[in-house]
Amino acid sequence: MVNWTKTEKATITDIFSHLDYDDIGPKALSRCLIVYPWTQRYFSGFGNLYNAAAIIGNAKVAEHGIKVLHGLDLGLKKMDNIEAAYADLSSLHSEKLHVDPDNFKLLSDCITIVLAAKLGSAFTAETQATFQKFLGAVMSALGKQYH
């Protein structure tokens, strides 16, 4: 169970209320596939991932990026019990998709960097700390159902 101050909750709510999912989602996932190329193994059915340009232009990557980013909404809606919010998705990632939980951190770092690029100096150290705390809680919840 993660404890949130009022300020932290407000920061997270604020970030998500202004979030352009259609922009950030594809950018974050494509960046992850480019910077950490071994993550491409989970997307062998996505077609051409041959180089950075192909990944950035890949419609399936873009669509999936948006889906994954909306997955964060579950945590946003249930910040006081994030573990429960992700129980089903955790089972999915472990039992069906077989994703190594270390990869959650890689995607999480890419989301942070893409958001930082979008917000510029508004992405203060405090904002970064709160956002990474939120992503950390989501990652921990996603890893819960792994045995």
Binding site: S30, R31, I34, V35, A52, I55, I56, D109, T112, I113, V114, A116, A117, K118, L119, G120, S121, F123, A125, E126, Q128, A129, Q132
Partner: protein, 133 residues
């Protein structure tokens, strides 16, 4: 991970764009690190205060970025070029190497906020490989 010629070219190109802001980058990256990862403050307990933007952080940020500038100049042989700094961090400063990843991440975040256009995914992967090396 070894750096390809493309990686080296990308790092040099990005560095030439960002180097004039290296003091600001160093300050912001270190300030972020102690806020986002408070456990890193332990390495600076000899300073009177460990707060973002303080004179100590600014000076140390400059030092760290100087180290990166050195690394860029020695990009063709990082192991030899950074040998002394590596020894210093291991034996004198006794920094847990996990913290290098933390600082690297903070540097990448700062570059993303300051240079969103130039910090493309391709530049990102090359710089990440370089900083990890």
């Amino acid at each position: 991970m070894s750096l390809s010629d493309k990686d080296k070219a990308a790092v040099r190109a990005l560095w030439s764009t960002i180097s004039k802001s290296s003091d600001a980058i160093g300050n912001d990256a270190l300030s972020r690190m102690i806020v986002v990862y408070p456990q890193t403050k332990i390495y600076f307990s000899h300073w009177p205060e460990v707060i973002p933007g303080s004179i100590h952080i600014k000076e140390h940020g400059k030092k760290v970025m100087g180290g990166i500038e050195l690394a860029v100049s020695k990009i063709d042989d990082l192991k030899t070029g950074l040998f002394e700094l590596s020894e210093q961090h291991a034996f004198k400063l006794r920094v847990d190497p996990g913290n290098f990843k933390i600082l690297n991440h903070c540097i990448l975040v700062v570059i993303a906020t300051m240079f969103p256009k130039e910090f493309t995914p391709e530049a990102h992967v090359s710089l990440d490989k370089f900083l990890s090396g």
